[in-house]
Amino acid sequence: MTTNREMSLASTKTTLSLPDFHRRKRQCGALAALTLLLGVLQFQPFVSTALAESAKVQKDLGAERWSIQVERVDPGDVALEPSFEAAIYENLLEELAKTEQFKQLLRTGDRNASDVSKLFILKTTVQKYTPGSETRRAVTTVNGATKLNVRIQLVTRGGQVVLEKVVDGNVRFIGGNLRATHSLAHNVAVILKRSTLPAQADRVPEQESGKGSN
């Protein structure tokens, strides 16, 4: 009898302690969620501030992009046809536009150049020109290539040379002679794209002495 009574009391105690345990567990869970929520809410202003700052930096960097003015081609001592001069100039403008590296592309003599603060001037001087023949190329395959060799200089408005390279442009097999100018302009655009331009006008590096031919 006593044993039965004790057992019934124990069972009663057990049945009472289980809901209590669950209730406490639920309370703890709610408290943890609340703490987490408060924590997140506390950090949210910091996160948004950081994101805004990052966006602002990116915007500033975008605003700091350089513009470029392409000067007309200087034939130097080479007797280059006017069509080649014009084709190099126009192809340079097209290829540089494709790279989207520069904020603004300006032509020689463009009045808007005076309003641009960060402006590079691209100077192109022809060093060597080998006139070819499309017919000779078509007949012999190995002969009649049109070859162009130019020196490009990227100069700031103050006259500091940022980049100096020697670039080639050829047409060896299929295509007209003017295709050499397209090849040349493409090579120039690739070189400028790969080069690291200074962030500020006053931090212009020393002139590159090594002339990398492409």
């Binding site: 007797a79 014009a86 126009e90 009045r111 078509a138 012999t140």
Partner: protein
């Protein structure tokens, strides 16, 4: 063991190949001849001041590369119009320099080049030897509204370039030097195409 049957099998195949080659060659030569004849007629029929057929190579603002169309002087402007496309024009006063050169080019374009590659026994090279034609390359340097320099290149039939240049100069277009810059043949370095 008798070689005669083998020979009798090879001969038709070889003759067939030669036949194919000859057929390709004849077709290409005919194409070249017709193309050359057509353009010669165009060159002869060109009247000074009227619209001339030209191919815009590059640089004329608003026109697409390698577009064929009509080039003409209308009022105080040079106009280029491709069939069905709006006219693009540049005023004569904005022209800074005009030059004409001659250039030797292969006729037929990319299709012809591929066709020549397909001709067996190097027959394509033989076709290339005859499938070329002289053109006039007209270069116009002009300024846009912002004073930016443009260089436009047009390909005209032989003989039309000088006529068009004279027309432009007569109507007030400027040239940088009075002597013709379009005679580079005198110097061997500048000679563009010596076949």
């Amino acid at each position: 063991m008798n070689p005669n049957p083998v020979l009798s099998k090879q001969t038709p195949v070889t003759s067939l190949q030669v036949g194919h080659g000859l057929a390709c060659l004849t077709l290409l030569v005919l194409l070249c001849a017709s193309s050359a004849g057509q353009t010669q007629n165009e060159a002869v029929g060109a009247v000074p001041g009227s619209a001339i057929h030209a191919t815009h190579v590059l640089g004329f603002e608003g026109a697409r590369h390698n577009d064929a169309g009509d080039l003409k002087i209308q009022g105080d402007a040079v106009q280029f119009q491709r069939n069905g496309s709006p006219t693009v024009q540049v005023s004569l006063s904005s022209i800074q320099d005009i030059s004409v050169e001659d250039e030797d080019k292969q006729v037929g374009g990319r299709t012809m080049t591929l066709g020549k590659t397909a001709v067996p026994y190097g027959g394509g090279r033989l076709v290339s030897l005859f499938a070329h034609k002289k053109y006039d390359i007209l270069t116009l340097e002009y300024l846009d509204n912002s004073n930016g320099l443009h260089g436009a290149i047009f390909q005209l039939s032989k003989g039309q370039g000088q006529t068009f240049k004279k027309d432009l100069v007569a109507r007030g277009a400027r040239i940088s030097s009075p002597d013709d810059r379009a005679t580079p043949q005198s110097t061997p370095e500048v000679k563009h195409d010596n076949k």
